[in-house]
């Protein structure tokens, strides 16, 4: 999670206007949605790979991300390809096999496009996009707070885990449980301070959004 966040801020397209990136993603997803063919899936995957290369994101990391959904896709398409015809008699037809291949390639294409997008779009741009498409501001506010807390908690979780290791703690369930509990309680103890900080800054509404440069305007 930390890695995706870091990479998303370091690629060449990080500061490109999020709408332009979102439009690209949308086009890819539309292609996959409308033409569920292996060719559409593969061409989107190729386009996404090209985009990632141009963005100078780590290719290895991108491929590693793409490997994750493979298991889901394999497990998911099995029932599509094969069906039980009576007790323990497995049946399949050309159509069902075809469907399975289509689904797998569309899912692969979709994942490629989505991962290419998240690897070049920091969260604050996603928040900007959500605001632009008129998603409820309360929803965005909560998402923004969750984002901030995620990294504070993750950092804390690491330190608490290491603090135990350094005192001879043995990695395992007990340590995990202690880490989770202490991460929770120590953050809870700070809640009052955070609340006060929010009050001192006038409340917790109206999260701002930064401005972004257009890729095309940058070129000029």
């Amino acid at each position: 999670m930390n890695q995706i966040d870091t990479v998303s801020r370091q690629t060449r397209f990080s500061l490109v206007h999020p709408m332009e990136k979102a439009v690209l993603l949308l086009i890819c997803l539309l292609i996959i949605g409308c033409w569920r063919t292996p060719i559409a899936g593969l061409s989107v995957a190729c386009a996404a790979l090209f985009y990632v290369v141009v963005a100078q994101a780590s290719i290895g990391f991108y491929l590693k991300l793409l490997a994750a959904p493979l298991l889901f896709i394999t497990m998911g398409i099995l029932p599509i390809a094969f069906s039980f015809d009576g007790w323990l008699k497995i049946a399949f037809s050309e159509k069902s096999l075809n469907d399975a291949v289509l689904t797998a390639s569309s899912a692969f294409g979709g994942a490629s496009a989505l991962y290419a997008f998240i690897l070049t779009t920091p969260f604050s741009q996603t928040a900007w996009l959500m605001k632009k498409i008129r998603i409820s501001s309360l929803f965005i506010d909560i998402a923004v707070l969750v984002y901030r807390f995620i990294f504070q908690l993750a950092e804390r979780k690491t330190v608490i885990w290491q603090a135990q290791l350094l005192r001879g703690g043995r990695p395992g369930i007990q340590m995990a449980a202690r880490t989770a509990a202490h991460t929770f309680t120590s953050t809870m103890l700070e809640m009052e301070t955070r609340q006060q900080a929010a009050e001192l800054r006038g409340g917790l509404d109206y999260f701002a959004v930064a401005d972004w440069h257009s890729f095309w305007r940058n070129k000029k």
Binding site: P122, R148, E190
Partner: protein, 267 residues
């Protein structure tokens, strides 16, 4: 002018935190608040922020008394810029620029206005190049300055900072000192709690010393350290000690050592 008149306050558990405190701080003055941990510094800050009500006494700003209704509190707080000890507690937005803008938008300014003012504050605090970064990627010094920028963007008359120098390296500490001098030139009041008396000596005009919930002294920098009676409570700044021996008034390490060198070679 900030005024405390016979203010007493207690901790949530009922024990006395501050006892009959009275002082007034003139506008445009830099005040250093000293005292061991547990002496009541945090309580003083919470009182100033209207986060707790005093058990007794009156707190006022420019002769307007602090009331504890939500609206009054809201107005009161717009006149202050608070910087907490741990900047992680006060940075909420996903990027530094958005965080600095957030207080301004809260005040009802348009995003365009807010953006301009935020950029100014970011520049003044030397963190403009970090504006697109999320707070969790900043170093301790950068976080601190980002938090100060968030307070400065709202252009308050008074800055209240809780141990702003804690955990900062010397480079960042001197940047902080420069920032305080900068606020001073804009005629802002700066109130800082600190444990580092050498740091405070570089910028403080007045000193407020708390000890076990009581106001021990509130005094002007010039004559403040002359009474040796305070020696058992606080450490005296190096620069002051050297100044006293050389009969000069150096404020920084550099000046103090230079003066010392001059005096030693002269004799």
């Amino acid at each position: 002018m900030i005024q405390f008149q016979n203010v007493s306050a207690s901790y949530p558990d009922g024990t006395v935190a501050l006892k009959n405190i009275s002082f007034s701080i003139k506008p445009g003055v830099n005040v250093a608040v000293l005292g061991e941990s547990g002496s009541g510094k945090s309580t003083l800050f919470q009182l100033l922020a209207g986060l707790i009500k005093p058990v007794e006494g009156v707190i006022s700003l420019n002769n307007e008394r602090l009331h504890y209704k939500k609206k009054d509190l809201h107005y009161w707080r717009t006149q202050f810029g608070f910087v907490l000890q741990n900047p992680d507690m006060q940075l909420f937005a996903p990027s530094v620029e958005e965080d600095v803008m957030y207080g301004l938008l809260q005040q009802g300014q348009t995003p365009e206005e807010a953006r301009v003012k935020a950029r100014e504050a970011l520049n003044a605090c030397g963190v403009d190049h970090l504006r697109h970064k999320p707070p969790h990627t900043l170093s301790a010094g950068e976080k601190k300055r980002a938090a100060i920028a968030g307070a400065a963007a709202m252009n308050p008359d008074i800055f209240v900072m809780d141990e702003p120098e804690a955990g900062l390296d010397p480079v960042n500490t001197s940047r902080l000192t420069a920032l305080i001098h900068n606020f001073h030139q804009q005629n802002k009041t700066v109130i800082c709690a600190t444990h580092n008396i050498d740091f405070a000596y570089e910028w403080a005009d007045e000193w407020l010393i708390l000890n076990e919930g009581k106001l021990l002294v509130y005094g002007n920098s010039k004559h403040f350290f002359e009474k040796d009676s305070l020696r058992s409570i606080i450490e005296y700044p190096w620069a002051y000690e050297i100044g006293r021996m050389t009969k000069t008034f150096p404020l920084t390490k550099k000046d103090a050592l230079q003066q010392l060198r001059k005096t030693m070679t002269k004799k």
